[in-house]
């Protein structure tokens, strides 16, 4: 029996995947991304504190969604992808 794949979908026009390569956690710029729920910021500040013990925190920045109930905008994600080598996401709640 041959069936139609119920999960099939096509990538939207213009969508592309970039490979960033290996991350040097001791030097590369890192983004701390909050989902804007309660305590997400506190989780990320804890992470930044841990980083401070092993590297300079220059280049480790915070960003947060405008609203916990909406996804980050494409512009926000694209901007993060351009500036940072890695992003750590905190899902507070």
């Amino acid at each position: 029996m041959r069936i139609v794949n119920p999960t099939f979908g096509q990538s939207p026009a213009g969508a592309e995947t970039l490979k960033s390569g290996a991350v040097d956690w001791a030097k590369d710029p890192i983004l701390l991304f909050s989902n804007s729920k309660p305590n997400a910021r506190e989780l990320l500040e804890g992470l930044k504190g841990r980083f401070a013990g092993i590297r300079s925190t220059d280049g480790i920045d915070f960003v947060w969604k405008p609203s916990a109930s909406q996804p980050a905008s494409a512009e926000q994600i694209d901007g993060a992808a351009r500036r940072y080598k890695a992003a750590l996401l905190a899902l507070g709640d």
């Binding site: 041959r2 909406q70 996804p71």
Partner: protein, 347 residues
């Protein structure tokens, strides 16, 4: 979901119904209930039912892929739809894909919202959608299969897999199927879609990311004023997203309540205005921590009250159901919209 299967067709071998369902369950394609296998022949019957529909679809969150008509039809087949239901399913999908609906947020949230589908207009009778007794319950194939089809599309094409991209804390029975029709024949008010600007001859699906219905029991009030008091009191609750995110909600009046209100001179618009004002929540009922959190999100009370809708017009009033002294309050995700889409019917 088995991401290795990337083609539009899958050879599953010579398997029986039980084996098919085991296979589908293993792939993550199921809502837990048995499904019909979407063979090429069955899917072709569905796509031919919408041959005149040339509107394209936006990418579906959270996977952000553009569906094909075949993959959408496959989900409708699996849900138990008849081919004539498929235009309704597609209109429901187009409604939730409207940007103001915030589909990604409503699927990825911890909140227990399902995709409510209200069907208005002539299609209700043409495909036998239940608008009367038990219209939000079991028993009618069109309601069950159409609502289920949209949920399966969001699961399988959209990728809103429970515990993965669907992060609901508890979920809701409303996430299996949540489709009903407006009881236009028993309503004293103009049809919902006409009040939204559509023609009476149009058939329309309106979707909202909604909690399961909350009952409003009022057997004693025999005046519109009394009913407004009970309905507004039911809407005035501190644990709903609406209280701080506002947004839309639905009030589904049972026909008996609606007739009582109309007899006393209430219109759909005056009901909306009265409910908006009288459902507001005083800050004394809200915890100090919540007040602080909401203030931090720039959500402030108005004259010491929070309103559970963005405006009177965001209280979407519709008449549905059968005999009985019950109505329903349906809160939403908050940051969403009651989005409507006209059904493209074959000419």
């Amino acid at each position: 979901m088995n991401d290795k299967i990337e083609s539009e067709y899958v050879e599953v071998g010579d398997i029986d119904t039980e084996a098919w369902n085991e296979f589908a369950q293993a792939q993550g394609w199921s809502d837990g209930l048995p499904m019909i296998a979407p063979t090429e022949a069955k899917v072709a019957r569905f796509t031919s039912a919408v041959v005149a529909d040339n509107e394209t679809f936006a990418p579906i969150s959270p996977r952000q892929v553009v569906p094909t008509l075949q993959s959408l039809a496959a989900n409708a087949v699996m849900a138990g739809c008849k081919p004539e239901y498929f235009p309704v399913v597609l209109a429901g999908l187009r409604a939730v894909l409207q940007p103001e609906y915030n589909l990604h947020g409503t699927l990825a949230t911890t909140h227990p919202c399902g995709q409510l589908m209200l069907v208005s207009g002539p299609i209700r009778n043409a495909v036998d959608i239940n608008c009367g007794s038990n219209c939000l319950g079991q028993g009618r194939r069109a309601n069950a299969a159409i609502g289920r089809a949209l949920q399966l599309i969001l699961l399988n094409v959209g990728g809103a897999r429970p515990g993965d991209m669907d992060r609901a804390t508890h979920g809701s029975p409303a996430k299996f199927a949540y489709c009903f029709g407006e009881n236009e024949e028993a309503s004293p008010f103009p049809p919902y879609h006409v009040r939204k600007g559509f023609a009476a001859s149009d058939s329309v699906v309106t979707a909202m990311a909604a909690e399961a219905p909350h009952n409003i029991n009022d057997h004693a009030s025999n005046t519109g004023e009394g009913l407004i008091t009970t309905i507004a009191g039911t809407m005035s609750q501190v644990g709903a997203n609406n209280v701080y995110l506002q947004g839309p909600c639905f009030v589904v009046l049972g026909p008996e309540h609606a007739q009582t209100m109309a007899r006393d001179g209430w219109t759909a618009e005056t009901i909306q205005e009265a409910l908006y004002e009288r459902s507001k929540v005083h800050v004394s009922r809200i915890s100090r921590e919540n007040l602080e959190s909401w203030a931090g999100q720039d959500r402030h009370p108005v004259a010491d009250h929070y309103y559970p809708a963005s405006s009177p017009q965001h209280i979407n009033l519709v008449v549905a159901g059968g005999p009985g002294k019950h109505s329903l309050y349906i809160p939403s995700f908050g940051n969403t919209a009651a989005a409507s889409s006209r059904i493209n019917l074959p000419r």
